[in-house]
């Protein structure tokens, strides 16, 4: 399946890219699996926020084809 991963703010700076398209093998790939894939095996820092299709979610969420996954630091609007 194919997904899009987006990174924002300081996390984008650390990753060195704003987004990427990923082709994943298997039917039960979680958010945590994707993070490990894009960071060479690291776990998701506690402060990192996660959204799938623009809704907040957690690292255990299983992805499906076409999903837009995003990782970002704590929000500071207002």
């Amino acid at each position: 399946m194919n997904i899009t991963v987006r990174y924002f703010a300081s996390l984008r700076d650390r990753m060195g890219r704003a987004d990427e398209a990923l082709e994943l093998d298997g039917d039960s790939v979680s958010v945590a699996d994707v993070w490990a894939k894009v960071t060479d095996g690291q776990t998701i820092p506690d402060s990192t926020l996660i959204s799938v299709n623009m809704e907040y979610t957690d690292a255990d969420t299983v992805l499906k084809d076409g999903d837009e996954l995003a990782f970002f630091p704590p929000v500071t609007g207002g």
């Binding site: 926020l49 929000v75 609007g77």
Partner: protein, 159 residues
């Protein structure tokens, strides 16, 4: 309900009046507004400018959700949120939340609920430029002790 996320600067009083001119006449007894403006200091350093980044689409979606929830929880006539992104300077308005209701208590409560939720959940990020020319991401909003309980309450109710 109206939610605007825009790059351009705005004049809060003018925006409030223009929106109010479109509301049914005589149905509201007051408007409560909160305007967040940019400080020229943060974490002990002078700040000359700030750039706000956001997640287009998700930002609008979540602010609209909380405005809708506020309208369910309190008897209000209407609500308006304007939030800027891009570069801004001290004294510039960053955000406006305005709520109209027949009686003031509902407008005060709904306005507080919306701004607290927005600060806790809407995907915006501030990057400051100091007088030394350093660019730094703001890693957390400064604490407002009197708002803290309401902030967490707002997130819990909206999750």
């Amino acid at each position: 309900m109206k939610v605007i996320v825009q790059q351009e600067s705005f004049e809060p009083g003018q925006v409030i009046q223009e929106f109010q001119d479109g509301l049914p006449r005589g149905k509201h007894g007051g408007v409560v507004s909160f305007v967040g403006t940019m400080r020229d200091f943060n974490d002990g350093e002078d700040v000359v400018s700030m750039t706000l980044e956001h997640y287009p689409g998700m930002t609008e979606k979540h602010i609209e959700q909380v405005c809708a929830e506020a309208a369910e929880r309190w008897d209000i006539v209407d609500s308006l949120v304007v939030h800027r992104y891009g570069e801004m300077f001290p004294n510039d308005a960053i955000v406006l939340v305005a709520v109209w209701s027949a009686h003031r208590a509902n407008a005060f409560d709904a306005c507080r609920f919306i701004i607290n939720y927005l600060k806790a959940r809407a995907p915006f990020w501030k990057c400051e430029t100091t007088t030394a020319g350093e660019k730094r991401w703001v890693e957390h909003n400064s604490k407002d002790p009197k708002a803290e309980i309401s902030d967490s309450e707002g997130v819990k109710r909206s999750a």
